[in-house]
Amino acid sequence: MTPATLDAAALRADFPILQQQVNGHPLVYLDSGATSQRPRQVLQAEYDFLTGANAAVHRGAHTLAAEATDHFEDARAVVAGFVGARPEQLVWISGATLGINLVAYAIGNATAGRGAPASARFALAPGDEIVTTEIEHHANLIPWQELAARTGAVLRHIPAHDDGTLDMDAAAEVISERTRIVAFTHVSNVLGIINPVEDLVALAQRVGALTVLDACQSAPHLRLDLPALGVDLAVFSGHKMLGPYGVGGLYGRSDVLETLPPFLTGGSMITTVTLDEAGYLPPPQRFEAGTQPIGPAVGLAAAVTYIQDAGIDAIHAHEARLAARMREGLVQIPGIRLLGDAPGAERVGLWSFDVDGVHAHDAGQFLDAQGIAVRVGHHCAAPLHRRFGITASVRASLALYNTEDDVDALLDAVSGIRPYFGVNA
């Protein structure tokens, strides 16, 4: 039984970093969208592994190596289970950026004739189209630009409405018989709106296109069942979900992973190697070249367990409640424009906003002086900001350890920004 509600104030005790003062104020950490903080339990799990059972996995017969392999594969099962997948559908990656590049390069390799005969299904021809959206993080945009440039495929974009929701009518036009790949984010890291994954998958499946989901901003906050969502591939980063740096997950439907050519090559992903050629293992090993992030994988499993103990639905409800409170306060402050404030949209707990007359960097600096950590800039989504006619915004993003006090501290401070900088329009 997982709890229905969350006691964030109690959970905070598990996060040593949150206990500190910044610039003479208690730290109010509202930058979890960039990277989350780690609970003791995660640090402890890694520590216990590294001081008790650490060894290179899958390669040795000695006792430590066997124990390490068990820990590593158990971690895979935990993380796979968290997103509704089977262990063999979960590839360890160093993070979401690597994961999307993996998919793009593997498709490029299929295009270059690499992989098994069945890999040819992924090969792109000039004139084939790759579709992404106007609201993507650079990580889910530039790898596709590069793939298009290398293969002669054409990159197209699903536009967004002024309120930040995707233009699904346009999507139905953009996704055509020429479309081979549809890559999109579950939740934009700027807007917080939950996109209609099933509808996009349906449009893609109608034309037989491969779907790639960026689940970075949903995995920590929403109950995920990736097989049920119907996407072919999905990525997420450990460090955004209470876990360590340097680890993340690539989920793939079995038939997709089985036919996708390898990307990184090297040790532990091979069958027979001669000086001139190599055979490759089945997934997930085929995509795990070299020494894997073993300690971080163990830590990520502990993070997932922590989230499961708190209850992912309780987390979502808690964050949604705080986000609603934040919105209510922000819309009352003169000169604040929220990005993606679409009426009735389902959301995760983050808000980005523009402060009229004050550059985001200055606004962020002002908040920081009061111990409030927010992100400022384009948040790796420059085209989206250009779409809104700005170059930068302020983003406050929530995690399970945030409280109403955090939100109120933010609201109080934000109302002081324009007066401080002498903008009193």
Partner: protein, 153 residues
């Protein structure tokens, strides 16, 4: 019996030194082969399953390969089991499937499910392997090869 001796039982070392069914049989009659390789340690086996004309019975198993004593002994014990239990008419496919499934289950049980001697004959001595997770693949190699070969026989 210490841990090591429970892994390397006399019977296992015997089989590995004097393997049964070693040397691939002729491709006469209805046969199918499978090549299996353990990339982690280089164990390698080619196994040939000889079935009757109906394809319903496994007549015999022959193999060649190289690897550690566990993988060699396991292949040898499998060949012996088929020979002894099958007799003239061979083993029914369903029985072979059950044998392989039970073997896999025991080996993955981390020492909780033993292989019974009645059913597995000498191969029951491989029960000890299940406590050494890194060696389970060695013991499974021949059995996986048989499974694969039969699927195509």
């Amino acid at each position: 019996m210490n841990g090591l001796d429970s892994l390397y039982q006399e019977l296992i070392l015997d089989h590995s030194k004097h393997p049964r069914g070693s040397g691939l049989g002729p491709e006469e009659g209805r046969t199918a082969s499978s090549h299996q390789h353990n990339p982690m340690c280089g164990d390698d086996i080619t196994l040939r399953a000889h079935v009757d004309d109906s394809g319903e019975h496994l007549l015999d198993v022959t193999w060649e390969g190289s690897g550690c004593s566990i993988s060699q002994a396991s292949a040898s014990m499998l060949a012996a089991l088929v020979e002894e239990d099958g007799g003239e008419t061979g083993l029914a496919r369903a029985d072979v499937d059950r044998l392989i499934e039970g073997f896999r289950e025991a080996l993955r049980s981390r020492g909780t499910i033993p292989l019974d001697e009645e059913t597995y004959a000498d191969a029951a001595a491989l029960s000890g392997v299940s406590k050494f997770s890194a060696r389970v693949k060695c013991a499974m190699l021949a059995w996986v090869a048989l499974e694969d070969a039969l699927a195509r026989a």
